[in-house]
Symmetry: C2
Subunit: 697 residues, 2 copies
């Protein structure tokens, strides 16, 4: 007999649904309006259409198995879902954007994920027309399934250290792939463990005795008839991971495998089929453009991650009532007009606000910065098409640092939100646990979050030197060179804040962020150029510089969007977002106060004032917080969370989900006979037990 909860029991009053209703009634704006502002009507319609398809699909509609099962079960379920998504894609002729929405809503990485996100784009960007025809078209129809095999067991971030070789043999017109060591095994490759039959393999191209370093090849790896590995290939799954277990990250080793000449992706560099001569790539900066695009998407994605985590924690905190704020106990007025004191929703405790509200602010900050990066990406593409590369370096540097900063923020946000849910946050039913596990690698891949900051800082140091050398003019000035120039024109500037009113002045806040970033850059240039400090000894400072620069970008974009647009500035949503922007500035400033203080820009008294005023700003957005997360409009289907769903039936959902736990499918769980009964029955002789099994020991 399965365990079930008595159905007549209700949660303690007040009910979650009514608490959320009150929250929504108290907001200063309509969340539906903000939602439309964020996404646009058209996107929302598309999303709803796709949501409807998924929710009603026999295979994709039900996510209820996700929290209970081990890898084997979940992997197979996920494979079935990936196939179904591919079919729906063909059936509905989805655009890339629509397919992306479906993947987002389904919210489970699959064995086919890298096929679309890395395999196909790499062929598109680096293949010749012939290669595109040959590989891309069947790939789009899922007739071949690919993956992207760059990382090896021994080398990830240092791509130049890769060991796999592809040696060209003009006699056979083939490349011979070989894995000389154990560490040369490709490793971590999503889709490779089980699903893929083709791979983009990064291997050292060797021809006529010369090693030209890593190049991309497209290699068939499994038999298309029966899926067995081709001769000379050892391929498999790398085993269980912290998350991402619905993906078959795999390894592959080559033992002198011959691959035809066409395998080398030859848009940029190629090998003469007859002579084996290497044709050098034209130095293409265009590839950097693509990277900016990918990273702009990561920033926009991190906005969703932040907002989703906040949605769960904020809604739950509005319901979760625990203890009482003695100075300001929560009162509820009943239908009959009587007033009752109830426990305080934890959302009313300033500590909880301090932990959660800045995350909401970060979500909006990422929204505006992601949008701005997209805009600049297109602007830059146009410029580059006209041969103007003046934006590229700045954009690329900023995008590196922003990938690092926003994914770092997003990862912490999920965990901070989970912890803010107390014990129940630790239940998988919170919807935050697996979410964290699956998102986490974003901090490591597509550029390790520490390493990436070196690119950002390197560019900023160079910019400082150029500004100093007078090499910056109206034509090549960028946001970075401008704030650095401003700083250099007055490095003794001091923060003008004298009263809390000043703390609501976005321009003054922006100036502070500019000063701090430029100050750090200047000190680093001095350390390197004058004090001869090595790059390695500067790495910690370099990380800080990148963070300072990117926080500045986020402040700048946020302020521009909600203060400098006059229609916006006078609307209800605009006013609410202005408060959020101020919170973003102040909470970031407070958290990084050491930098501001150390530069001498901020005085101790000003820092104290900011610390105190931040609490007041938290309160100013308190009435809006549920509406602010509602505005992201995440469907319950996505959240899959007992704590965070829209209606607030937290406790009913927790118990309903617990009923599905496999251990509860009988009142005495498997294992009792073998492992419990023998232990406790060794003392049986001493018991007196009545007919009902009740003991008198």
């Amino acid at each position: 007999m399965a365990v079930t909860f008595p159905k007549h029991l209700k949660p303690i009053e007040p009910q979650g649904a009514s608490l959320l209703q009150q929250e929504r009634a108290n907001a200063t704006f309509k969340s539906s309006e903000l939602m439309e502002y964020i996404y646009g009507k058209e996107y929302l319609e598309t999303r709803d259409r796709i949501l409807h398809i998924l929710q009603n699909d026999p295979i994709l509609g039900d996510k209820s198995h996700r929290y209970y099962n081990g890898r084997d079960f979940r992997f197979k379920k996920s494979l079935a879902a990936a196939k179904r998504l591919a079919e729906l894609n063909r059936e509905h002729k989805w655009t890339d954007e629509e397919f992306g929405i479906a993947e987002f809503l389904f919210d489970e990485p699959s064995a086919f994920r890298l096929h679309r996100s890395m395999f196909m784009p790499t062929i598109l960007n680096q293949g010749t027309e012939e290669q595109k025809k040959l590989y891309l078209e069947p790939a789009m129809r899922y007739e071949i399934i690919g993956c992207y095999a760059q990382t090896e067991l021994g080398h990830g971030s240092n791509v130049r250290g890769l060991e796999t070789t592809a040696t060209y043999h003009p006699e056979t017109q083939t490349f011979v792939f070989n894995s000389p060591t154990l560490t040369s095994s490709k490793w971590w490759i999503g889709g490779l463990g089980v699903a893929a039959n083709h791979a983009i393999v990064m291997a050292r191209l060797i021809s006529n005795g010369k090693d030209h370093g890593p190049h991309p090849f497209i290699v068939q790896i499994r038999n298309l008839e029966n899926h067995q590995p081709l001769e000379g290939i050892t391929v498999g799954d790398i085993g269980p991971k912290f998350g991402f277990n619905t993906v078959d990250n795999g390894f592959i080793l080559f033992d002198h495998v011959h691959v035809p000449h066409i395998a080398l992706l030859a848009r940029y560099s190629s090998i003469n089929k007859i002579t084996g001569e290497y044709v050098t790539p034209p130095n293409s900066k265009l590839a950097y453009g693509t990277m900016v695009f990918v990273r702009a998407n990561i920033v926009l994605e991190s906005r969703y991650v932040l907002a989703r985590a906040a949605t769960v924690a904020v809604r739950y905190s509005a319901i979760r009532s625990q203890g009482s704020d003695a100075a300001n106990p929560k009162k509820l007025t009943a239908a009959d007009g009587s007033v009752k004191t109830v426990e305080t929703p934890v959302l009313d405790y300033t500590m909880q606000q301090y932990r959660l509200f800045p995350i909401i602010a970060q979500a909006y900050a990422c929204h505006f910065t992601g949008q701005e990066m997209h805009r600049m990406y297109y602007e830059n593409q146009e410029k580059m098409a006209q041969g103007d590369f003046s934006y590229l370096a700045d954009l690329h540097a900023s995008s590196s640092g922003l990938k690092s900063l926003t994914t770092t923020l997003a990862v912490s946000a999920i965990e901070d939100c989970r912890r803010a849910c107390g014990g129940h946050g630790y239940s998988l039913f919170s919807g935050l646990g697996q979410f964290y596990q699956d998102y986490l690698p974003k901090a490591t891949w597509e550029g390790d979050n520490y390493l990436l900051t070196q690119q950002t800082a390197r560019y900023l140091l160079k910019t400082m030197r150029s500004v100093r050398a007078g090499k910056i003019n109206d034509k090549n000035a960028t946001f970075s060179s401008q704030y650095i120039s401003e700083y250099l024109s007055n490095p003794q500037a001091r923060c003008p804040f004298t009263s809390v009113q000043d703390l609501s002045n976005p321009e003054a806040l922006l100036s502070a962020f500019k000063f701090r970033a430029a100050f750090l850059v200047e000190k680093a240039v001095y350390a390197i150029d004058v004090e001869q400090t090595t790059w390695n000894d500067m790495l910690v400072e370099i990380y800080r510089i990148s963070r300072a620069h990117c926080q500045l970008l986020m402040v700048s974009n946020f302020v521009k969007a909600v203060f400098n647009d006059s229609a916006m500035a006078t609307s209800d949503i605009g006013k609410a977002l202005q408060r959020v922007a101020i919170l973003f500035c102040l909470s970031t400033l407070e958290q990084e106060a050491a930098d501001f203080l150390t530069s001498g820009y901020l005085s101790p008294d000003q820092a104290l004032m900011i610390k105190q005023h931040t609490i007041a700003v938290l309160k100013s957005i308190r009435p809006d917080v549920v509406a602010l997360v509602d505005a992201f409009g995440f469907p319950d289907y996505l959240l899959n969370s007992a704590l965070g769903e829209k209606e607030g039936d937290v406790y009913e959902k927790m118990t309903a989900m617990a009923e599905k736990e496999p251990l509860n499918q009988s009142t005495v769980a498997d294992g009792y006979e073998d492992y419990i009964r023998p232990l406790i029955h060794s003392g049986k002789s001493a018991w007196k037990i009545d007919q009902k099994g009740v003991a008198r020991l």
Copy 2:
């Protein structure tokens, strides 16, 4: 056919084992000496003895299944292991300490864990002699298995809000247990879901119409013959969690269940059997003593957590070679004397040092503070036995904050170390993933880490007021009142650091920590007493105060142990630990620099100097770091980590573990026929495939 790695392949040179050997040779002290200093000879012998038993046990010796399986499998394996541990315990007549060592080494929470850690101690501390005889003795023999059921679905940290009632009926001389709402279901109770047949239940004691609030009862919940729930009881498992899935955290609901009078644990409060009269508890402060003890143990445990995470990340970073430090490339001298440039072990990058070395320092800091707390616990017990309660409040307040601080540090450390291992950190084979998942709840239970700080700060504010009011004298002075007095005697004091030499002066560093803590306390007293700020509006500051106080304690205990003991100070280990202590002070100071700067104590120039000098201090301990983690002597059996084992065969271990992945047990994984073949074969007509399955698309 299963997938296997070609056995002739070796990792790229240099091999991990040789790199670790070099590291060990470079250390300034013998790690075995430091190990003995940390643990004492006797403890190490005991540990080795127990380790030997476990490693050679047919059930406990093999941990290889842990990373591959889902909850159902792991839960049953864990139950079997728990039974086996119980048997070994009986067989070897282990002391509590020995059993604790066995649990530590086996390193997997089980369904029986709360039986020993909460059920038995609660009876011991709160039961009468009769109750101890009745329940404790069979519990020690595992003839009854218990759990500790306090938390409910609706209430955790606010114990006063618990809803379960136990109403006394003098007619039947029974308490009637009832769960009036869904939220009154007990929830999160370790051991309850499957294993326990008894529970300590915290329920509102109601007698003669009066509600006396939550009291502990001991209640039988499952039939001792067949393990079925007793009448009126609904009991089961709460479902999957982020970690801790080898434990059956459970729920229980009572529908008017009669329980005999003896059930109320009656050492402190009781009910007259005949009249139902409530006998008020003597106000016992003794219970606080126990809490101090529990928390001292948590601090000592967090030392192991920090050290274990660091062991994995430091050893792996000494092996993982990636890229090159251009200014200082790594050279290796071969046996034949030839010198070769190789890649740089990531441990040589200052950013990696900055991320990892402070964690080592924290581990040692927790070691000394945990020891000091133990010492003070015993001193205080003696004093209390003599009726002297003057230490208790201080000790209790500090222990609350230290639980919060050290577990917060330990949780972040595991994740920081995992991330520092790059991609491989994300593999469960790193040994850090499950470790993190299982340790994580420590931040939430035994007092939520945010809530606990209120107790610490409340005491410190009170102390400040007492000092001001002249109520502190030689007899009742404590560490806290002393540093607060010092501060009040000169609140305008300024930090005397003028050169980097000053930064190695432990007393000067200690003074800085004292000033900062006292400054925060003073400001808070002013805000509350003068500005009438509410407690709720102070919560963020209160958190900071507790942190500042506890960091001060850790600095103070560390400095005392390694600078003020003259034998220590001149030995090799002593000198090494002094560098570690300085790193602890500086890295903490740097991280919290905003506080120090805001108080005006530290100047911007001093802060800059500290920031720069911290990098130099990292370098000063670089030669010792492998020895510093070796000194904790964690056996590979405990670590269960491909990256962190003692010999350094990282890549061989990674591949050996991957071979065990269930998906690799055949070269074509299950799921191909159903979900991959139909997709790709839809385009088959267009392929040309040779006999070997190689396609020409």
